[in-house]
């Protein structure tokens, strides 16, 4: 299923003018607060009506061509930032709420599977007030899925959680992306979430699409990084290689490999690694006598000078892309230009658990 969005909306000084297609998989709407991300998914859900435009899911028009379906006829599942569980109902009743309203043909046959996938079995008889923030959010995800939606919308579903709980929820979204069979539109301003989850990224800036495409391409595009926070960085798609005896794991991509702290996965399993641009050092020669374990041959693809003293360098290595944040002074001192071959240096320990996804 594909979601196509083409909307224009104006409120006050802010003008939204956005077109994109979200294919199967997880599409992250990425950008700073105020870039219009939430407005876009609220328009898809029918919670706001844009001034003009067209929204369709697999050809079924939700808005446009004289159609403007109310939210309850749109068949979208919405996971809000604040879980919004019904306080008077048990977890079980919350989960079945949307199922009851869904047409018979759309009701998920695999209710048990959804409950199992989200680890909700133990919580069914509880009430929302007895759940932790992370548990609430998992129930909210389950509730949205049980309504058998054509598209799942999530508005910064992890923003209200602390780091530890975020870590606990992210794997569920990874599973959803790979197993739920429903396209997901996911709003986020967190580069690490984007790197772990996204298959498609739509980068928004001031109400316009800055860049849209596959996650690899968009995230490693130096033009996009100023959109996000300082923690910009590229995403590598790797497979687990050898497990070393001293607790390190080798991740392979193309002909290259990367050593990171232990990854508890069998050899051959896919792992997405978020490498933050500020953790990558550049060297013209293969450095020796340094503690950093990863010295990866790479080629400069592009350089983007920042407004301040910084610069972002996009590298190509092993068929993947990396971003390095360096100073303009270093760009000049090393004589960095497009096509230059050099070495990217990365400490194994700078890749933490939170940078690894499936």
């Amino acid at each position: 299923m594909t979601v196509s969005v083409d909307i224009r909306h104006r409120f006050g000084d802010f003008a939204l003018d956005v077109q994109f297609e979200a294919p199967q998989g997880l599409t992250v709407l990425f950008g700073r607060s105020g870039s219009g991300k939430t407005t876009v998914i609220n328009a898809v859900a029918g919670l706001i009506t844009p001034d003009s435009g067209h929204i369709a899911v697999d050809g079924r028009v939700l808005m446009g061509d004289g159609v403007d379906l109310p939210p309850h006829k749109r068949r979208v599942g919405y996971v809000f930032q604040d879980a919004r569980l019904f306080p008077h109902l048990t977890v079980q009743q919350n989960l079945h709420y949307g199922r009851w309203f869904a047409p018979k043909s759309a009701r998920p046959q695999n209710a048990g599977r959804i409950i199992e996938m989200l680890g909700l079995g133990q919580l069914l008889t509880r009430r929302p007030a007895q759940l932790s923030g992370g548990e609430k959010q998992r129930v909210a995800i389950g509730r949205a899925l049980m309504s058998g939606p054509d598209v799942l919308l999530a508005d910064e579903p992890l923003a209200a959680l602390d780091e530890q709980r975020k870590e606990a929820i992210l794997p569920y979204f990874e599973k959803l992306r790979d197993e739920a069979g429903v396209p997901i539109l996911y709003v986020s301003h967190s580069p690490s979430e984007v790197a772990r989850l996204a298959t498609t990224v739509v980068a928004l800036q001031n109400g316009k699409v800055l860049r849209a495409g596959e996650a690899h391409d968009v995230l490693s595009d130096p033009a996009v990084t100023p959109v996000g926070a300082m923690a910009a960085g590229a995403m590598l798609t790797t497979t687990v290689g050898m497990q070393h005896e001293d607790g390190l794991t080798e991740l392979r991509f193309g002909a290259e490999s990367l050593l990171v702290p232990h990854v508890d996965k069998p050899a051959g399993a896919g792992v997405r690694v978020h490498v933050e641009a500020q953790d990558v050092m550049l060297s013209l020669e293969r450095p020796t006598g340094i503690s950093a374990l990863n010295v990866i041959p790479a080629k400069v693809r592009s350089i983007r000078m920042g407004d301040g003293p910084g610069a972002l360098v996009q590298l190509e290595t092993g068929g993947e892309r990396l971003l390095a944040r360096v100073t303009r002074r270093s760009v000049a001192a090393l004589g960095l230009t497009e096509g230059l071959e050099l070495y990217a240096v990365l400490k194994a320990v700078s890749v933490s658990r939170s940078n690894l996804g499936s």
């Binding site: 859900a45 919670l47 109310p70 939210p71 309850h72 006829k73 749109r74 068949r75 979208v76 599942g77 919405y78 809000f80 604040d82 919004r84 569980l85 019904f86 306080p87 008077h88 709420y97 949307g98 309203f101 869904a102 009430r127 929302p128 007030a129 509730r143 949205a144 309504s147 919308l153």
Partner: protein, 231 residues
């Protein structure tokens, strides 16, 4: 109980219970609707409606009773039309129901409105995205959450209806066994020599019912907060 109260006193108590019950039952749906409209909708005339609902609270009851007589009396604008199809309010117990319902309406609407305002509209929005149409959202989310508030308002309205005097006596007079409610009976007993004992017995009943209603209403009100937070 029947030994303790004379048949006349007992009549008044029973009639008051009947009048208060019907007044509460009939005004509940309209009360919920009005409270919802005032809490959730923005429409022209909203302040006017709000004022109209609260008017019986501040107007002298005798004025309300007189206005009812003008409008719903046998020669009244609406009263004469209703009389043609066999519905008569003036000087009937049904008129007492109408007068009590109107006098209790502000209390009912106020309690329900407060409980609706305590419900997060975001929950209703979430129910919408899960496929529930507006009426279903109200039935499955809003109504269960405000139920304690509805009960609190209903109990309060019931107690108010039990005690209503001014508008009732003006509109339907004070006819024993027909329109003589508990307060009217107390008033009547106080007008005749030797009626003090009867009046005192009815006064005690009135105080007990009123106290019980306030306590019950408070109990339901406290439950709103707990219910909305899901405990």
């Amino acid at each position: 109980m029947t030994d303790w109260l004379s048949p006349e006193e007992w009549q008044a108590v029973l009639l008051s219970l009947k009048v208060a019950l019907w007044a509460t039952v009939w005004s509940l749906p309209l009360g919920i609707f009005t409270a919802y409209a005032l809490a959730r909708w923005r429409f022209p005339g909203r302040q006017l409606l709000n004022g109209l609902v609260h008017l019986p609270l501040v107007l002298p009851p005798v004025v309300t009773g007189y206005l009812l007589l003008i409008v719903f009396g046998r020669r009244g604008v609406i009263g004469s039309a209703l009389a043609d199809i066999g519905i008569v309010f003036a000087f009937r117990w049904t008129g007492a129901v109408l007068a009590c319902a109107i006098m209790a309406f502000p209390l009912l609407v106020r309690a329900i409105r407060l409980s609706i305002e305590a419900v997060d509209p975001k929950l209703e929005q979430a129910a919408g995205t899960l496929g529930a149409s507006k009426p279903w959202v109200f039935i499955t989310v809003t109504l269960p959450l405000i139920l304690p508030g509805v009960l609190a308002g209903a109990v309060l309205a019931f107690a108010k209806a039990m005690g209503e005097f001014g508008a009732t006596i003006t509109f339907v007079s004070n006819i024993p066994r027909q329109t003589q409610t508990l307060p009217s009976a107390i008033y009547a007993f106080l007008q005749v020599p030797g009626g003090e004992a009867s009046a005192m017995r009815l006064v005690i009943i009135a105080v007990v019912i009123a106290m019980g209603a306030v306590v019950l209403s408070e109990y339901f009100s406290r439950r709103i907060a707990r219910r909305v937070s899901g405990q």
